[in-house]
């Protein structure tokens, strides 16, 4: 009975837990609830992935209304994988949250933080599970609204303006998606994704469908922070509480990439998206610009959180570059990087939370001498940084390897060269951190810094450890990414 309802429980449990967390009022109790819910959703997403890999896609009729009339929740290889990413990151971040949130957020606002986190989790899981185009918009807004709250809880007053800026741009993005879905409904008369895909196939010449495509392309690009629509991201990640940055950096852009893949590959189909519409060349150009602009700006940042935020924009560029090839290998690279980037960026932002906890800030000046005083945290940052660069034996290498392979497969060798040059820029901004931490002494008279507590170090090392482990043993991630890419490139409609 419970097993049959897992796709719904995945979303309903965090959604119901959110008001409960608000009513508990005490930060510590809300945290326990949020941790418990995260662990439960991790177990559910793991069992869903197992079920999908052994017996194919799961279709769940919400409320017993049969698709295509009712809302269908549909779990296949790709969204089971994304669900796992979101719930793993949620669980690890919640393990670390108690210490960091207690230090950064006032006691009376802590339960609000966990409420917003649970809503955000419910929204992200909902976007991923649902098979209904309008439902995507609803969950997108649930996760976005709670994200604005999470960002605005930061200590600095600039968190407020960052949240406001994000709200404006996020709402415009979501409304564009709403327009796109509306135009699609206008032509197909259905909201169910599979039904829509089947009915769109003969409509490639329709101007309405092409307009819907354009609106969805811009809307999802805003949400996933594709250059030049990334302006909301650096401030939001910089001024949000450390835990919110860690959770959002590792999940929200990934889920937006998933939405884009779902719309362009499953619903519109690869022929329409890349042959009829010139998506490939546009994405390739923007992705390459994102890689260089993001990395170059990152080099000149003084605040390390902002540095990593710009690096995220570059990393989103790598994902979109993989998507722009629209080939099996390209998609494998993009989906692998989805997972790999979640691991390394999650780990790095958690390590930054530890630095912020011990030194009180995250500017480069705070890093002076940390190699000696916080050896474990700094080692995690260095390993995460190596992974961002793409050094062999880290996950970053695996996804870049597939990306270069995909570029060479198409004969785009200049693109492959540019990917490698982009990695060199990452060397520069990671080196800035290493130099400050290992080769500079702390300021005279500065407070003696102690290593971060185990409650922060352990979650950091879980993610950093994962980003090394999956860099060596690539069987699980590559096979999952391959089956996901095959599913996306298939006829669109899966048996």
């Amino acid at each position: 009975m419970i097993a049959a309802n897992l796709p719904a429980l995945q979303v309903v449990i965090p959604l119901l837990a959110a008001p409960l967390a608000l009513m508990l009022r005490r930060g510590s109790l809300s945290h326990l609830l949020a941790l418990l819910v995260s662990v439960v959703s991790l177990l559910i997403s793991y069992s869903l992935l197992q079920a999908v890999l052994t017996s194919g896609p799961i279709s769940y009729a919400m409320g017993g209304w049969e698709p295509p009339w009712g809302i269908e929740y549909r779990v296949d290889a790709i969204n089971a994988f994304v669900l796992l990413i979101v719930s793993v990151i949620g669980t690890v971040v919640m393990l670390a949250a108690r210490t960091s949130v207690a230090a950064e957020i006032q006691e009376k606002k802590q339960s609000l933080f966990y409420t917003a986190y649970l809503l955000c989790l419910a929204g992200l899981l909902g976007i991923t599970t649902t098979g209904d185009a309008f439902n995507v918009f609803v969950f997108l807004e649930i996760s976005s609204l709670s994200t604005y709250i999470l960002v605005s809880l930061g200590r600095d007053r600039r968190a407020l303006t960052a949240a406001f800026q994000y709200l404006i741009m996020g709402t415009i993005g979501a409304t564009f998606i709403l327009i796109g879905v509306g135009l699609l409904y206008m032509t197909t008369g259905t909201l169910n994704m599979l039904d829509m895909a089947a009915r769109l196939a003969p409509l490639t010449d329709s101007r309405t469908v092409q307009a819907a495509f354009a609106f969805l392309a811009v809307g999802t690009s805003l949400k996933l922070a594709l250059f030049p629509l990334h302006l909301w991201l650096p401030n939001a990640y910089t001024y949000a509480p450390s835990m919110a940055s860690a959770f959002l950096a590792a999940t929200s852009t990934k889920v937006a990439v998933y939405v884009m893949l779902r719309f362009f590959f499953t619903i519109f189909g690869v022929e329409f998206s890349f042959d009829v519409m010139p998506l490939g060349i546009i994405f390739m150009a923007l992705a390459l610009l994102a890689i260089f602009a993001g990395s170059l700006v990152a080099i000149f940042q003084d605040n390390v959180k902002r540095l990593l935020a710009y690096s995220s924009i570059a990393q989103v560029g790598y994902m979109m570059l993989g998507v722009s090839f629209a080939t099996q290998t390209g998609l494998v690279a993009a989906i692998l990087h989805l997972f790999n980037h979640a691991m390394m960026k999650g780990g790095l932002f958690l390590a930054l939370a530890a630095v912020c906890y011990s030194t009180g800030g995250t500017s480069i000046a705070n890093f002076r001498g940390l190699g000696k005083t916080m050896p474990w945290t700094m080692m995690a940052i260095v390993l995460g940084g190596l992974s961002l660069i793409g050094v062999p034996l880290t996950v970053g290498f695996v996804s870049k390897w597939y990306l270069v392979l995909a570029a060479l497969e198409q004969g785009y060798w200049p693109v492959a060269v540019l990917v490698l040059l982009g990695s060199l820029l990452a060397v520069i901004y990671i080196w800035k951190l290493v130099e400050a931490a290992y080769f500079q002494a702390p300021d005279e008279g500065a407070v003696v810094v102690k290593e971060a507590p185990l409650s922060l170090l352990l979650p950091t090392w879980i993610l950093i450890g994962a980003s090394i482990y999956f860099g060596i043993d690539t069987n699980l991630t590559v096979s999952a990414a391959e089956s996901a890419a095959a599913a996306l490139l298939g006829t669109g409609v899966q048996p």
């Binding site: 604005y148 406001f164 327009i179 509306g182 409904y185």
Partner: protein, 118 residues
Amino acid sequence: MSTTLGLYNYWIVIFLMMVGLYIVIAHPNLIKKIVGLNIFQTSVFILYISMGKVKGGAAPILDDAVTVYSNPLPHVLILTAIVVGVSTTALALALIVRINEAYGSVEEDEIHDQDAPL
């Protein structure tokens, strides 16, 4: 001519959408930005409501005398979107109140100037 005038509600949609977006982009006052955002969202509400209209269709209540019904689904959908719009506005206004407390201003350029030397 008939298509131009017959589709007048879509022209209104496009007009409101552009006006709303322009206000969001051009106005430095945060409250006016939210008003612009609301106009932008309202245009989408009208788009959805227009698409559910069937010429000569009655309200979708089962009755033997009626054969043509308007499509109620877009209207139901847009109710959800209106709720989302209202909550977005509420959250934005709450943020503006906090911004005003922290900076003593709701003008974007003045806020920006205060943060610049930090």
